[in-house]
Every structure is written in C-alpha cells, then in structure tokens.
C-alpha cells in the first residue's frame, strides 16, 4: 500500500469519526427519552418507558413557551425578511462612495456577539418605555437575522440577469410591475429559504433572547431553565421530537433536490434534441 492510499483511508476513517461525533450526542439524548430514570441519562438503564412524552404533553409552561416562540418567530419573519430583501436590493443597485460604509454597517450585526445585540436593544428601548418581552425580542432578533436574510438574497440577486429588468421596462412595465412580475418571482426561492432560516434562527436563539425576553419565556429559554433546574427526560422527549422533525425536513429537501437534478438532466436532453 502506498502513501496516498493510506491518506485516503485515513480521510475516510476521519469522516466516520467526525459524523459519529456529530450524531452520537443526538442519539444518546434521544435514547435517554425512553429511560425510566428520573434524571436524563442512558446509564444506568432503569427500564424502558414512554412516560416522559406524557410528562412533556402535560407541561403547561412548555406549551406557553412554545406559543411565545412561535409568535416571536412570526414577528421576526415579518420584520427581518423585508429588511433583508430591501438591503439586498440596495447593495446590488447602489454603487459609489458610501457603499462600503453601509456594507460594513449591514454586516456588523453578524460579527457582534448575540449578547451585545440583546443588551444594546434592551438599553436603547428602555429609554422609550419599552421593556423586555415579545416585542423587544422580535426587534433584537431581527437586528441580526435580517443580515442573514440579506446575505442569502444578495447571493441570488447577484446572479440575476439585469437585461430581464430592461426587457420588462421596454415592454411597458412600470418599475413596480417589473419588481412584482420579474424580480420577485426570481428571488422567491432565496426569500423562501431565507424565511425558513430566519424562522429556525429565531426559534433556537438563546444569547440575544436571554436579555430581552423579560417575563415572556421562549422555548429555548424554557429548555435552558429546565436543564439548570428540575431536569427530567421530558426535555429529551422534546429534543427527540425536534430531531425527528428536522430529519424529516432534511429528507424532504434531499428527495426534492434529487428529483430536481433528474428533471434538469431530462430537460437538458430535450432541449438538445429539438435544437
């Protein structure tokens, strides 16, 4: 066996270890759901049970927190997505002096620790009489989630063929009609995936929310408080549900991707023949 074979073998072994590292914690966490032990663990196994699902179901605080999280996430969607799209439009349209400053400003929330965004939002809005709660959480989360939306939309917008825009105007469309009928449909996939990302980011955010949530506990805050005080495997049951949901989404995505890839190949073949 020569060196490069060893190398590729090593790389493969590394990959296996890596993905074990990535998924083993999730598996263990999920497995602990079915352990009868009062404390979430897999060792020692004290008997298999489904009781923690009913414990989760009966947990009123969890449902309240979930409701708050959903409200916040929807709020973030309504605020961060338009802002992100607007910034993407701005960055791909405007050239000239001042642009790099605006660009740095737009990126800054991504490079600022989440706690700082939470703190500054809390301090600023207290001056206007707005205290911690759902509204402030939406504002604080949107401050940095909008930047993610901007990045995703900009990436697609940069590949947009601007002659399509000119064609629409040339055919008599107003700028608004051009935006509605040509640019927006083109951006739709990017906006949709940015919206999904924004929703998930909002749901899982902890650092920023910690400072601005006030008494409106979100799901993440609730889980964190559970983990620190009064931990039972009901939290694992919740984690398991989230994992299954995520894996299902990932599978749907993967199936869709494969189908689209096949479709693209088929379409290419058709075009070649009729050309």
């Amino acid at each position: 066996m020569n060196a490069s074979r060893w190398l590729s073998l090593g790389l493969r072994a590394y990959l296996v270890i890596f993905f074990v590292y990535l998924f083993l914690p999730l598996v263990i966490m999920a497995a602990a759901t079915f352990n009868a032990s009062r404390f979430p663990t897999v060792t020692p196994w004290t008997g298999t049970t489904l009781q923690w699902f009913s414990a989760l179901w009966a947990d009123g605080g969890m449902w309240d927190a979930l409701f708050n999280s959903a409200v916040v996430a929807v709020g973030v969607l309504c605020l961060a997505v338009p802002i992100g799209v607007a910034s993407a439009l701005f960055l791909t349209t405007v050239e000239g002096r001042g642009k790099s400053f605006v660009y740095a400003l737009i990126l800054s929330p991504l490079l600022t620790p989440g706690v700082i965004i939470g703190i500054s939002t809390l301090i600023f809005w207290r001056g206007w009489g707005l205290n911690g709660g759902i509204v402030l959480t939406v504002i604080a989360q949107s401050a940095f989630i909008a930047a993610y939306v901007m990045l995703m939309v900009t990436a697609r917008l940069q590949r947009f063929d601007r002659t399509l825009e000119r064609a629409a105007l040339d055919l008599g469309a107003s700028q608004w009609q051009m935006f509605r009928r040509v640019l927006l449909p083109y951006l739709r996939p990017a906006i949709l995936s940015a919206a999904v990302l924004a929703f998930l980011q909002s749901l899982e955010n902890y650092n920023t929310t910690l400072f601005v949530a006030g008494y409106d506990t979100t799901l993440t805050l609730y889980i964190a408080s559970k983990v620190r005080t009064g931990l039972t495997p009901a939290v694992n049951a919740l984690a398991l549900i989230m994992i299954l949901f995520t894996v299902a989404m990932a599978m749907v995505y993967e199936i869709k991707r494969r189908r689209e890839a096949r479709l693209a190949v088929a379409r290419l073949a058709v075009t070649d023949e009729s050309a």
Binding site: P25, L26, M29, L89, L105, L122, E165, L203, A239
Partner: protein, 295 residues
C-alpha cells in the same frame, strides 16, 4: 445612491427600501450600540437622580473592571479559551471541508452537507444538553471508559474546561466548515493536480496551494467561531463549572443579579471591543476585506 435606487425601482419602492434599511441600521443597530456606550460612561443612578448633578461622564465603570482581578482573569481566560476553540475547530473542520470540496463526488458532498446541517437545525441548548448527558458524572462516557478499564473512578468532566471546549467546538463547527468549504470549492482542481504532478507532497500541496487559496474562508471561519465562542452564554453555563465562569456570565450577572446596567454596559462594550480587535487583527493577518467575509 437615491438616484440609482429610483432609476431601478421607482420612487415608492425606492423609498420603501431606504425606509426599511433606515429602521434597521439606525433604530436597531447604530443607536442601540451608541446608547450602550453612553450607558457605560455614566454611573448607575436612581431615576430621580438622572439628569441631576450626579449624572456625569465617567470612566468609573471601566475602572471597576480593571481593578477587579477576578474579572480580569475571567476576561483573559475567555479570550484564551475562545482562541483555543477557534484553533481546534479549524483543525477539525479543514480535512472535512477539503474532502467535501475536492474529494467527494457532488452527490456525496450534497448529502454530507445536509447531514452537517441537521444537528444545527436543533436548538443550541439541546445540542449542549446532549453533551451534558454524555459528560455527566455517572454518564455514558464515564461508564464506557470504566468498562474499557481505562479509569477506575469516574472523571468530573463538567468541572473543568474540557466539557466547555468540546461543547463549543461541537456548537460552532458549521460556522467554520461552510466558509472553508466555499473557499476550497472555488479552487481549480487542476492546480492541485499540477502541484502533485510537479512532485509536491500532500503537506506541501496544502501549504502552498490549498491553504493560500482558502485564506478568505479560513479568516471568515475564524472570525465567526471566535465571535460565537467569546459571546457564548449557553455552553459555559451548562457545561462549565461554577468556578470556571465565562465573561458573558459576568455581564449577565451585572444586568440581572447586580442590577447595575451601566456597569454591565461597560463590560458588554469591552466584549464588543474585543471582538472588533479580533476581527481587525484577523483581517489584517490574512489580508482580506469585508467583501470576502460575507459569502
């Protein structure tokens, strides 16, 4: 700028764009940060005293920090640990990113990327919690080591820094892998072949061809990871011992236990300044601009 926007989108849409960005950048980014700095330069006062003679500009809040040895040591420990987390994450991510970008077939790579993302769709708290279970005193890791005969009594992983390091690498690995992957992906495969062809060994090929090309990705990954690590609250709170606190925990305590927001603001600004210094330093070191980072 206004002209260009109106030419492309017309008045109403142009105004909407500017208004939305104005709300964001001014009301949600600039003014809050400014207010935080302003807070940090004032003493903590009762509402009745505000605007009174005690309401003066002062560096007292910063002086508190520099006079508190415990806080200073926690600050530097946070820096050091974050650098360590960043370096570890880079080392772990690089082979993977290289594999995904240049070795794997496109279908394989897409599947791997999807697998990578799955854990990151799950709550950071839950991901950390999973490690909490593994590292527990009577948890599976100790049981495993015991069964293998490597130890004769359980180790308290959650008492030192190991738990925090492992948990953080796990939590932020995606923010390193993706920039690296994007950067390496854009490298022409033939360059690697040419280097190999000219007799360069693997190490030299990486050092002279792949790594220089991936510099913007490395810089981005390091900046993101460091920022996330230094600003992390959940991981040290869950996996760290009470004795090994993180700087963010001190900040939190000023706000919600000490009740001194002005003092907390000063500490928060120090953290922000730290991140700005780190970002600037990395960008200088790697000679990359902001444009390279956002990709």
């Amino acid at each position: 700028m206004w002209r260009q926007l109106c030419d492309r989108f017309g008045m109403p849409l142009g105004m909407a764009v500017v208004a939305l960005m104005g709300i964001w950048l001014i009301l949600m980014v600039l003014l809050p940060q400014w207010q935080m700095i302003d807070y940090s330069l004032h003493p903590s006062l009762l509402p009745a005293e505000q605007g009174g003679e005690k309401d003066v500009w002062t560096l007292a809040n910063y002086a508190t920090f520099f006079q508190n040895e415990i806080h200073l040591s926690i600050f530097f420990k946070t820096i050091w640990s974050s650098v360590l987390v960043t370096a570890l994450t880079l080392a772990v991510s690089y082979p993977l990113a290289y594999y995904l970008a240049k070795v794997a077939r496109p279908g394989q790579a897409a599947l791997c990327l999807l697998l990578l993302i799955i854990p990151f769709w799950i709550n950071e708290i839950l991901r950390t919690f999973a490690w909490y279970i593994i590292f527990a005193f009577r948890g599976p890791l100790n049981e495993l080591l015991f069964a293998l005969g490597l130890i004769d009594r359980p180790i308290r992983f959650l008492n030192g820094d190991i738990g925090v390091l492992v948990g953080m690498v796990y939590a932020y690995i995606l923010f390193m892998v993706f920039p690296l992957y994007n950067a390496i992906e854009s490298l022409d495969r033939n360059q690697i072949r040419a280097a190999r062809d000219l007799g360069a060994g693997w190490i030299r090929t990486h050092r002279r061809i792949v790594i220089p090309h991936a510099k913007p990705g490395i810089a981005t990954g390091c900046i993101m990871t460091f920022m996330l690590a230094a600003g992390s609250y959940a991981v040290p709170a869950l996996l760290g011992a009470p004795g090994s606190r993180w700087f963010t925990q001190i900040i939190y305590n000023w706000f919600f236990e000490g009740g001194d927001w002005n003092q907390g603001a000063a500490y928060a600004f120090l953290l922000l300044a730290l991140c700005i210094v780190f970002v600037t330093l990395v960008m200088r070191l790697f000679k990359v601009g902001l444009g390279d980072i956002a990709r």
